[in-house]
């Protein structure tokens, strides 16, 4: 049998029943990422271009300050023209980078990044040559220090790791030239050391802080995007197939179509090889599960499984699918509350500390008959139990959000917050 005779289709990576089995978690997350990909073209540029502009302004101000300092020291310089050349190169590199970033968009191409770094290196070297004789690099370097800070310009245009690596190289280069150029007895001289340390800090800390800000901003945008995308479940019908299942069904249909087409057009020989036969059997099983059993989950299930943020730390117990009965305001409240409870994790900023993550369990129902409920309404009890959420560290927004779901009472269970909510919804029997 020739190789092309084997039927190719992507193996289902997820059991598409409501039950999450095996590595379906990964599958769900990868699908969620796939869903987010539509937005990811914008994602890279969302807001960071604006931050980049701010960085350009800061670097510009710093450059002017450095230039004034340099002009003031003209007389002192042993080789003022080398320093002047350093400033000209630096200015050309900066202007070039700013112009090109406006032209090429959100990301500086590799070769331009290389050129930029080479330019900085030249400016750095020229400035060091200009002040070598003075034996005090930290006290007199102007263009060399500004060259380090100039990396800030690229903070929104290149990856953080690249910026950090370049910053480290600048720091190292400064250390080396300072060491080589040190006068006799410098290492016991507080003045000399303080001057060099301050100069290194001036070159290195701004790009570092810039990276922290831009990374934080990107993360903020991602969290907000995740939240907004999941927010669309609030207006979903009582039961929904969900974007994952819909994609799965379309994928299975396509796989079946391709398989049948291959048979029809004689690309695949009959009778089928055992391998192809098992592919057909698997496809039939998946499709049957989808169609006969269906996938009837509530908006809340979809919200939790599609969100990176909620998926990590929220579990849901809703055996009777009662979440579907909540009206949009109540849904928004529940989603926001869950969001605020898990999003306020200090470890979110620091993935290495993920061990201490908060978790939230949402228990919906069961419905208890009777009680003080208006006509045509039923009361759905909702219990939010948490771990790692001290009562006194709850964001005030959580109470507003829970208030929109219904009357509630809060308590502490195992040192963590517990909220019991009486959620009044329309009786589905009356609809």
């Amino acid at each position: 049998m020739s190789k092309s005779d084997t039927i190719q289709f992507s193996q289902p990576e997820e059991n598409t029943l409501g039950v999450v089995v095996g590595n379906a978690r990964r599958a769900v997350q990868s699908t969620a990422r796939r869903l987010g990909r539509a937005a990811s073209a914008h994602r890279a540029s969302l807001g960071t271009a604006f931050l980049g502009l701010g960085a350009v302004i800061v670097v510009g101000l710093r450059a002017v300050y450095g230039l004034i300092w340099f002009v003031g020291q003209w007389e002192v310089y042993p080789e003022p023209f080398a320093a002047l050349a350093a400033w000209i190169v630096l200015a050309a590199v900066l202007v070039g980078a700013i112009v090109m970033s406006r032209v090429t968009g959100d990301r500086l191409p590799d070769w331009m990044f290389g050129l930029f770094l080479a330019g900085l290196a030249i400016a750095f070297a020229l400035d060091v040559i200009a002040i070598w004789e003075l034996r005090d690099i930290g006290g007199h370097a102007t263009a060399a220090v500004t060259a380090g800070m100039a990396l800030l310009v690229l903070v929104a245009l290149r990856g953080s790791v690249e910026i950090l690596a370049a910053t480290a190289i600048v720091a190292l280069a400064l250390l080396v030239v300072m060491f080589l150029d040190a006068p006799l007895g410098a290492f016991g001289d507080a003045t000399w050391i303080a001057t060099q340390v301050t100069a290194i800090a001036g070159a290195v800390l701004p790009p570092l802080i810039g990276v922290v800000i831009v990374e934080g901003f990107r993360r903020m945008v991602q969290v907000e995007l995740d939240r907004v995308l999941v927010q669309s479940t609030v207006s979903a019908p009582r039961f929904a197939v969900g974007m994952l299942a819909s994609e799965e069904l379309a994928r299975l249909d396509l796989a079946a179509e391709e398989l049948l087409d291959a048979v029809a057009t004689k690309k695949t020989n009959l009778p089928l090889t055992p391998k192809n036969a098992s592919v057909a059997a698997q496809l039939a099983t998946e499709l049957r599960l989808h169609l006969i059993e269906g996938r009837r989950e509530t908006w809340l299930y979809h919200a939790v499984s599609e969100s990176e943020q909620l998926g990590k730390s929220v579990t849901l117990s809703d055996k009777s699918s009662l979440a579907g009965l909540l009206d949009p305001t109540q849904r928004d409240g529940l989603l926001s509350a869950a969001w605020l409870l898990v999003a306020d994790v200090p470890s979110a900023a620091n993935p290495r500390r993920r061990g201490a993550t908060r978790t939230v369990n949402l228990q919906i129902g069961p419905v208890v008959p009777g009680g003080d409920v208006p006509d045509h309404k039923i009361a759905v009890p909702i219990t939010i139990t948490t771990t790692g959420v001290p009562r006194n560290r709850v964001d005030s927004g959580v109470w507003d959000a829970i208030g929109r779901i219904g009357r509630y009472s809060d308590s502490t269970q195992d040192g963590s917050l517990r909220v019991d909510i009486d959620c009044i919804v329309d009786n589905p029997a009356d609809q």
């Binding site: 340390v197 802080i209 969900g242 249909d253």
Partner: protein, 393 residues
């Protein structure tokens, strides 16, 4: 939505807090190194200054974690305390001490400006902090006026720069929130479309039933069916799936080559019975029809009816050992009935687990969904009869 603005504001505050922490701790560390160098300041000043540095660093760490206004205030007081100590006890300062207080007054302390631009009291604190920093460092350097001027100016620029960063980030957030909101709206539309799409695909049950039957045949490597017939069947099904994919209405399979687009809710039974007959014909089971074919049924009832019928015929094909089956359709005011009979080997009903036959799930279950029912009659050696009935709607 004001509400979503709240949430992103919280995220923004956290970002500013964390940035202030890195900013402040970085320059405070540099300042502390200069301060602690041998000979930079007299020993008493070192003893007073060191705990103040510790308090400043602790307050900056707290600024990163909490939005409480007390932490920037403590940081400001501790930082200015160091500068004031130098001014009072070590003036005129050595170069190292000068750089230590400059790093504090122009960067370490102003880092708190990042969290001080959102409300009026915070802005006031920012202004007070900036003025106090400038005043204290000028006091420390006053012995040498040009140096005092430079240091004061640098401190002022440092505060301005930190405030600019904060204002800049604050200005960026609403822009980005607006764009994210529009992505969210697009996503909501996409979700609705996807929901409709899934319903459409799930609704095309009749189509999927023939696809599943063909896939099941292929799963048995197509053994026992003529290759040409199977290819024909596969071609028909692939075409139907393609039409479904390209967004045409779920089509009912009929004779090869023509697929009517159903526009009304009701469908004539006869048209579709013919396609079932053809499908089984290709697989080697001859189906003979008897009785009326001109019955109108609502589409979901028709679907369930045909699915059950096809399931029965599939059982005949696989288990009966004969190649012919009879289907008799009768109807009255309320119900449409079908009798599926074969003259095959039959079986003892009590011997057979109904679920194993797939009978309960696929036939009875589907019919009951639309208010119908099914009954099974058989005995070893005397063939099998299934009676199906569905309401007329």
């Amino acid at each position: 939505m004001t509400h979503s603005m709240d949430l992103i504001s919280k995220e923004r505050d956290r970002l500013l807090q964390r940035s202030a922490r890195v900013y402040g701790l970085g320059f405070t560390a540099v300042s502390a190194v200069c301060f602690a160098l041998p000979g930079a300041v007299p020993i008493p000043v070192l003893l007073i200054g060191s705990p103040l540095y510790v308090i400043l660093a602790a307050a900056l760490v707290a600024v990163g974690l909490s939005r409480a206004i007390w932490w920037p205030i403590i940081a400001l007081v501790a930082g200015l305390g160091v500068v004031a100590t130098v001014a009072l006890l070590a003036a005129p300062p050595t170069v190292a001490a000068s750089l230590a207080v400059l790093n504090l007054a122009a960067a370490g302390i102003p880092s708190i400006a990042l969290v001080l631009t959102t409300t009026l009291p915070r802005l006031l604190l920012l202004g007070v902090g900036a003025l106090a920093s400038v005043a204290t460092i000028v006091a420390a350097e006053i012995a040498e006026p040009p140096q005092a001027l430079r240091a004061g100016g640098t401190a002022l620029v440092g505060w301005g720069l930190a405030a600019l960063v904060a204002v800049w980030i604050n200005a960026g957030v609403p822009q980005v929130a607006k764009r994210i909101a529009s992505i969210g709206r697009a996503h909501r539309a996409e979700r609705q479309a996807s929901e409709l799409e899934a319903q459409r695909r799930q609704g095309a049950r009749l189509l999927h039933d023939t696809v599943l039957a063909t896939l099941t045949l292929l799963a048995h490597s197509g053994v026992g069916v003529k290759p040409d017939a199977l290819r024909q069947q596969a071609a028909d099904d692939a075409r139907l799936l393609r039409q479904l994919r390209l967004g045409q209405a779920p089509a009912t399979p009929t004779e090869t080559g023509s697929v009517p687009v159903i526009t009304t809710d009701e469908t004539v039974l006869g048209t579709t019975l013919e396609s079932v007959k053809q499908r089984f014909g290709r697989m080697g089971l001859t189906v003979s029809w008897h009785g009326t074919g001109q019955v109108l049924l609502p589409s979901e009832v028709l679907d369930a009816f045909l699915l059950a019928l096809a399931e029965c015929l599939e059982n005949v094909r696989r288990h009966s050992g004969v190649t012919e089956a009879h289907v008799t359709i009768t109807d009255d005011d309320k119900m449409v009935r079908a009798l599926v009979t074969d003259a095959g080997v039959g079986f003892d009903i009590s011997d057979i687990d109904e679920a194993k036959l797939g009978f309960a799930e696929s036939v009875v279950g589907r019919l009951r969904e639309v208010g119908g029912n099914a009954r099974l009659f058989s005995a070893p050696g005397s063939g099998t009869t299934v009676a199906l009935e569905v309401p007329r709607g």
